[in-house]
Symmetry: D2
């Protein structure tokens, strides 16, 4: 059993607490949160103790930390945890500022750090990757990533989100890098404000299309909207030289009603807590593997690379011209 501590007792912290507490190889040994009551409630739920960051970092028996606190603390806590020799599970993004994130390269170079892009652990996308890697349909040539939220976040969130590309598309940039197997060298993005004018007033967009191109000419389109109107829309199509593999959405259940009106299936799963529940379990399992010595599947450098694409996309959208990396 590896002792781990959780930093951040918010919504995503609750998920990681449960998955760590129930994991056969992990022991949730402490919960840290700036808000005492939040830390207490979550620690109580899993029969563990409230702790401070300092105490956690100073305790040699605690080998891993899970950073699920607010975005602006990710980089600082990661650096401190790395300095303390901890194995790190850090929520995405590594930071909202590319220069600052990149500036930590040296300090985090040797860190045993998982940057938790949850979609890499989704069973559907993992199956898609496995089918691509099997070579059965040849080599990948292009990619269509569709990633729409069910409904827009509140303006207060939009204001501090870093913008659609850093907040939402950053997952898709990571997926693109993972699946293309080659770095994008050019980014073009077009965005519009079609869902909610308040988002536009805040200087952001709610609908976007991004085109990535790699040095060898592989193409990737990312489609984003802050509002689908039908639930969480998370799909990927990978076109290869001998065929295509896609991962589709997940419906609430398998029922169909056949009537005069046609064939009616149930709703899509509404949002990420449902759709990625298993992904969160699998990333905690991977964290346990890391504590056993397995290298991280996705780490700091991936977080920085995705952030670079998000910045390039933001710039392209504003200038109207493609950006070369």
């Amino acid at each position: 059993m590896h002792k781990v501590a959780l930093i951040g007792a918010g919504r995503i912290g609750h998920i990681h607490a449960r998955n760590a507490a129930l994991h056969p190889r992990l022991e949730l040994a402490g919960v840290v949160d700036a808000i005492e009551a939040s830390a207490q409630a979550l620690a109580g739920e899993w029969n563990t103790a409230v702790a401070t960051l300092e105490a956690v970092l100073a305790d040699p028996s605690i080998r891993g930390v899970i950073i699920a606190s607010s975005t602006d603390t990710h980089l600082d806590y990661s650096l401190r945890a790395a300095a303390a020799g901890k194995t790190i599970f850090c929520e995405k993004p590594v930071d909202q500022n590319y220069a600052r994130a990149r500036g930590a390269a040296k300090a985090l170079a040797g860190a045993n750090m998982l940057l938790a892009f949850n979609r890499r652990f989704d069973p559907n996308f993992q199956a898609l990757k496995a089918r691509l890697d099997s070579g059965a349909i040849g080599s990948i040539e292009s990619l269509q990533i569709t990633s729409n939220d069910p409904s827009p976040p509140p303006p207060s969130y939009v204001a501090i989100s870093g913008g659609l590309f850093k907040d939402m598309a950053i997952h898709d940039f990571d997926m693109a890098r993972w699946l293309l197997g080659e770095e994008p060298v050019e980014v073009y993005a077009a965005g519009s404000c079609l869902v909610d004018p308040v988002i536009g007033e805040l200087g952001d967009v709610d609908t976007a299309r991004t085109v990535l191109k790699t040095a060898s000419g592989k193409l990737c389109v990312i489609s984003n909207s802050r509002r689908s109107g039908f639930g969480y829309d998370q799909r990927i199509e990978a076109f290869a030289s001998k065929g295509m593999v896609r991962a589709d959405n997940v419906l609430e259940n398998t029922t169909q009603v056949w009537s005069e009106a046609g064939v009616a299936s149930d709703r899509l799963q509404n949002f990420f807590l449902d759709r990625y529940a298993e992904a969160y379990r699998r990333e905690m399992d991977h964290f346990a593997d890391m504590l056993d010595g397995t290298p991280a599947m996705v780490g700091y450098v991936d977080g920085v690379a995705a952030l670079a694409l998000a910045e390039a996309a933001t710039e392209s959208m504003k200038s109207g011209a493609p950006v070369r990396l």
Copy 2:
């Protein structure tokens, strides 16, 4: 080009007239119907002549006849066409009376006769058969045939239909024999009148389940209803030793609407004229092949065998006990 004549200018006659007239190896050389105006209208549509049955049978240049007249004439016209040496395309059923149908065995033994069970020519069911025959999923063990009409026929039709098993399930008995590759030796049928009490007053049922068993123990269930409420429901599932192959229904188009309410596909094709349009073309093509020398895929003996099963099912439903053949 083979000259063929059509007997019967009703609904199904119109379909066969079109398919014969447009077939590159057939020439529609005459249309016969008891109702002169019907014959004239259809003949006019395809630039051919009205004829009498006698003239058709006496004309040596007309090599094939398509019998699409009322059920009670099928056997008589087939016998006369056979006596005249014609190649015969006869609509199902061969007759409503098993004894009478069987009595024609000797006279029709040498006839070059297609009994037009349209489903044997449906591309979906043919693909299912091909996949079974390929051996990829082992040998067939059991069968589920679902066959529901969109809505019940008028009472006047029910009264002369011969009952659900001879009128409707007869197609399914033929499918069962074709796919099982072995004759059923026991039949059990249960029926109810759930759709329209008038059907019950006429001594018929509108909902039925039939279980067939072969000598080696293969099982087949046939599910029938005179009313689906959602269109033409024509499906088959064939379970084999290494898997299952099924043929599903056909939708009007491939659109889907994704909304808060769920995923809505369009309607099923409504009835047999849509669903089996291609099957009718393929059976006419097979008739052309027969005129070129190919043996009939399905003939008089198959018609009699299906009729025997329909009679056994009717008897079982009435007695409440299985019937051995």
Copy 3:
């Protein structure tokens, strides 16, 4: 928090232990098993104690017992738990012998007892039931229940299983009663041994079709095989007066590969531990509700009724004639 004890630390006991231990309103207060080591291992996994049945029944702080021991103990333990005033969660079947099961009617009449037919708690079948109950497609008229295991159990299991109808179809009989909303009054069953001759030598069948008929004429077909060749095949189609609702199988993931060979989806979930994982959680949740005062959704009388149908089906298959209830 309601204290509950688990009787039986086998495969299904492990599932119930986990679901009870993780349930926010339940406390797993003890594990009982004839094999000491099994009890200890499972109790250790969830930080609880090993106990004896006597101690559990005598402890007034333990309000609920989960009976997951071998089938031949279900009835005895239920009776003892009922006598001790416990709320009971009993695995199906209530017993293999109909007369014996029925004989307990008086003693269990007042018991607060859940008979754990897991499929009533499956999200897909619950959604199907909800859609039927909504009345949107009228009233139910017939039912097709398909229930095939991936591969046959070992002969040693078949020998003590009570036969296909009591061991396997009993779930389907319960589904039929639940969905038809009316008791079957006639049962016809046909069975064959097509999968494994050893099953036949043991006096059992491995492939069966059962037809149920209610007093008002509603029809239900149950299709069973001990071996599908493609995973766990658990589907229901309910035909109503204005349409049909069906619940389909669950695939391993949503990927599809499109290639020259066609469109390839992934495998079906292989067996009940995967397919019914959520159902097991939901039935434990229902047990918590019962401890809070909610009446059992399915209980002793349902267990007896399903057993009566299983006996009738067995008799019908042997005699070759339908059995009236």
Copy 4:
């Protein structure tokens, strides 16, 4: 009956000949082709006469002409037919050169001319349009058009094709205009040569992504490849304010094989002759409606507008910058 003549007896000419000849309101009154033998063969097939363009245009009894000759003749023949007062059915594109095409504006302003973009007549895309127009899912915001050929054409064709955007994507530009209900004002295109280096040597690309933006900010992505590896890939997804409607591909048949390997459906329809067979019938039906007085659904101005987008996309791809229209 309206007399119509066909100009061009090639592959697409054969389709139009059949549809015109079988149309209940049209009479195929002549076939024109530079190659006498081709004209004769096709005319013979449908019992009509070989003609010259001059004779057709001079014959007042021939009210409509179907221009299915080589692309470089479309504009010239359309102008001559318009001058002769004929109702015109012209294959796409109107011309390969935008300036030349636009130059005919005045001369064709009053022409009764159908520019035959076949996809507007496809039942699936028409159903998609109808669902959008119904308003049930709000107003359209963005569009994903996927349009991949099964395999690349021969180099000889590529050389004279006008390039991927004018030859292949032109259909998609027309779809975009039809569905967006608003003209694109900006075009960005990225292209690669991934399928066949010979295509690159000819100065063309085989893989492309195009982003269109309208004045109000609606976005459309067009994905093209000269080779899918799995058949004809023709799909559209239209995202609206309350949901999404998509039209999917068409499979060869509805069979599925369920086995240890997973669920295998059949192949996609291979190419446009299968996929758009019904669309070709419907466009001929629309031509008959035009001869009866109905205005053309899609005409010269649409052909020119699509060509403008194709030119802009070509320019954008070459310059690497978006092009404003």
